[in-house]
Amino acid sequence: MKKLLVLTILVLIASIGTAAAAYKVGVLSDLTGPTSSVGAPYADGIKAYVSWLNDNGGIDGKPVELIQVDYAYNVQQALAAYKRFTSSGIVAMQGWGTGDTEALVKFVAKDKIPVFSASYSAHLMDPAKAPYNFTAAADYSTQGRAGLKYLRESWKEERAPKLAFIFPDNPYGTVPIPAMKEYAVELGFEVVGQENVDLKAIDATPQLLSLKKVAPDFVWTGGTTPSTAVIMKDAQKLGIKCTFLTNIWSSDENIFKLAGEAATGHFGLQGGVIYGQDVPGMATILEVTKNEPQMTHFVRGYVSAMVMCEGMKMAAAKGEVTGESIKEALETMRDFDPMGLAPAISYFPDDHRPNMSVNINTFRDGKLEFVKTETLERKKEWLGL
């Protein structure tokens, strides 16, 4: 009898817990740390989408409540923030950087909390290693490969194009390099060199001087916008005639402020569109931001929240919304179009790569300019590499 009573009380408590007024979602942001210049607009994008969603009916009438914690890009603080989220009963989470996303991989798998991170390391795309990790943009390696494919196709000369790599010697910088080198050779590039430029570098002359000797036609740069600006300016100073291909974090609207005209004509990869680009979803963004221009990271944060909420809607349509049901729903997502704000997204139970596409932008007249969306084949052997 007593057991039965306890059981009823427990069930009651549990049902009160799930019948709460809102779906709680944790937002782990870097607002004050070393990546805050891109972390803050990304977080704003997440918040903008969710507040728009809540004003437009939420998920099945229930609003989404965001709990934001600034962890200043510190892994220990990220861990504590995550525990704070789980104690307050989140069903999903929006994460941020490489270090914290990886430190939480096992926790989120155990607690069954789907995480959308802005760290696009390839090994996070493999559900065998990171079952609850999702991203709204393709992994660094896929992006890099697609960028190389675009460069190769736009190459008109007879000889093989020469390619060099510049990246910081840290996990984020080194992760896509082996994959890109392999694919570059496959495409018929001649890989002529690689150099390390630190994220906090104020001078890249020594590295560029040694690259000048091998005269690359294209140079991959994976770093941050400030470090890329240093590289571009020094390249111009040294008279190096090459085209830079910068990765998703290495160029944004600030590139012209930092590098000036040295940025003109180079290419940047992005997972989302540019603010104001002519796509269906832009109307809402213009409306919620009151025509105040935002960085492309804002759009990516916006898309990340949109995809997560779409997963929650799909889970709600089937039954209860829990971390596990959101994950299962997401894995049935096929070619979900985030209103043109990013390439269409699909997840599979054995493959969490959202797509095999990247948006290629060029820098002209002080602005980012969309060139094309490059798409690769979804090859099994590339998963996680």
Partner: protein, 349 residues
């Protein structure tokens, strides 16, 4: 007429040297541990995770204090030694070693590496030694990132939650007991080392190396011992961290970690075990408190919090500077003053 002592009077040296000379202290400590032992039953996983982080930080801070505060050897590479222990323990654990063996193994590897990087300490002092340990930090970070076969490189290394005799410590509350046990052990080791011959030799070296040598202290041997023991304990802290987070990457053991351990012992009190504990608690809690403050402010006064949030890092720095100016001997001095005040309350003179 019955007589009552109005202070602590010792009749033997042994008693004076005791860790807890009065019964009152023993009772307080027992109560404190009793509270610690039952609190996982009442606390949520956020509070427990903070406690776990504090306990791990305590081992790191106490071990750095042994090297820097007690023996006077500056180290800017403590975070990396923690990393060596973490990777060591993770590798042993992934090879199938039982938890405690993996922890000891990680500590042993860390001690070895620490002693190698401690060799320059015979010739270098002060700021010069600091720079050479900084080199250790950078070299070890490079190794973590590039020894892909062993450390997983940029992809990191997954570790399983600790398991002892089939019982898995996979929640914050469960692993808390394990971490608490190891922390208490480590703190006891350091406290007792300081009271023993090596500890007194360390202090002698710190105070004046030439006098120490004159009275027969083998500088090289003791400095290496200090480096070895300190790195061993740092390695144990790292091993606990690895098993707690279950996923380690090179970014976790950066320069920033070394600096925050230095901040802990400076704020807590150089050369004091209790000080390191206070420092570890303070530095771990400060960002959480600032976070709670800003998030609660954002509800009441959104405009104000918009100004305060970007200042968080500044507040952290300001706290450190204020501490150095107003309480250079650290939190432990404040604690002693408070204790002294209450001891004679209300008849302070």
């Amino acid at each position: 007429m019955s007589m009552q002592k109005c202070g602590l009077f010792y009749t033997t040296y042994g008693r004076e040297d005791g860790l807890f000379p009065s019964r009152f202290q023993k009772i307080c400590l027992a109560l404190f541990f009793a509270v610690l032992l039952i609190c996982p039953q009442f606390m949520n996983s956020y509070v427990m995770s903070i406690m776990n982080l504090i306990l791990i930080a305590i081992i790191g801070a106490v071990s750095l204090n042994l090297l820097t505060g007690v023996c006077g050897q500056m180290s800017l590479g403590h975070g990396a030694f923690l990393g060596v222990g973490a990777y060591g323990a993770a590798v042993f654990s992934n090879m199938g070693a039982p938890f405690f063996l993996a922890l000891l193994g990680g500590g042993a590897v860390s001690a070895m590496i620490g002693m190698i990087f401690g060799i320059p300490s015979l010739r270098l002092k002060g700021i010069y030694l600091a720079i050479s340990t900084l080199a250790a930090q950078l070299i070890l970070e490079y190794v973590f990132l590039h020894a892909g076969g062993l450390t997983g490189g940029a992809n990191g290394l997954p570790v399983d939650a600790p398991e002892i005799m089939g019982y898995s410590f996979d929640t914050d509350s469960k692993i808390f007991y394990l971490i608490l046990f190891v922390t208490v052990l480590c703190v006891l080791v350091v406290t007792n080392v300081i009271r023993s011959r090596p500890g007194r030799a360390f202090v002698a070296i710190r105070d004046y190396h030439q006098s120490a040598e004159n009275v027969g202290v083998n500088l090289f041997a003791f400095k290496l011992q200090a480096f070895g023991l300190s790195s061993f304990l740092a390695g144990v802290a790292g091993g606990l961290w690895a098993h707690y987070t279950m996923y380690i990457t090179p970014e976790q053991f950066s320069m920033g970690l070394s600096i925050s351990y230095l901040a802990m012992i400076i704020i807590g009190g150089m050369g004091s075990v209790l000080g390191s504990i206070f420092g570890a608690i303070f530095i771990t809690l400060l960002p959480e408190m600032l976070n709670l403050l800003t998030s609660s402010l954002s509800g009441v006064a959104p405009d104000l919090s918009a100004i305060i949030v970007p200042m968080k890092e500044g507040v952290f720095g300001l706290m450190l500077v204020l501490f150095l100016i107003f309480e250079p001997e650290g939190l432990v001095r404040k604690w002693r003053l408070t204790k002294a005040y209450w001891k004679l309350y209300p008849f302070a003179y």
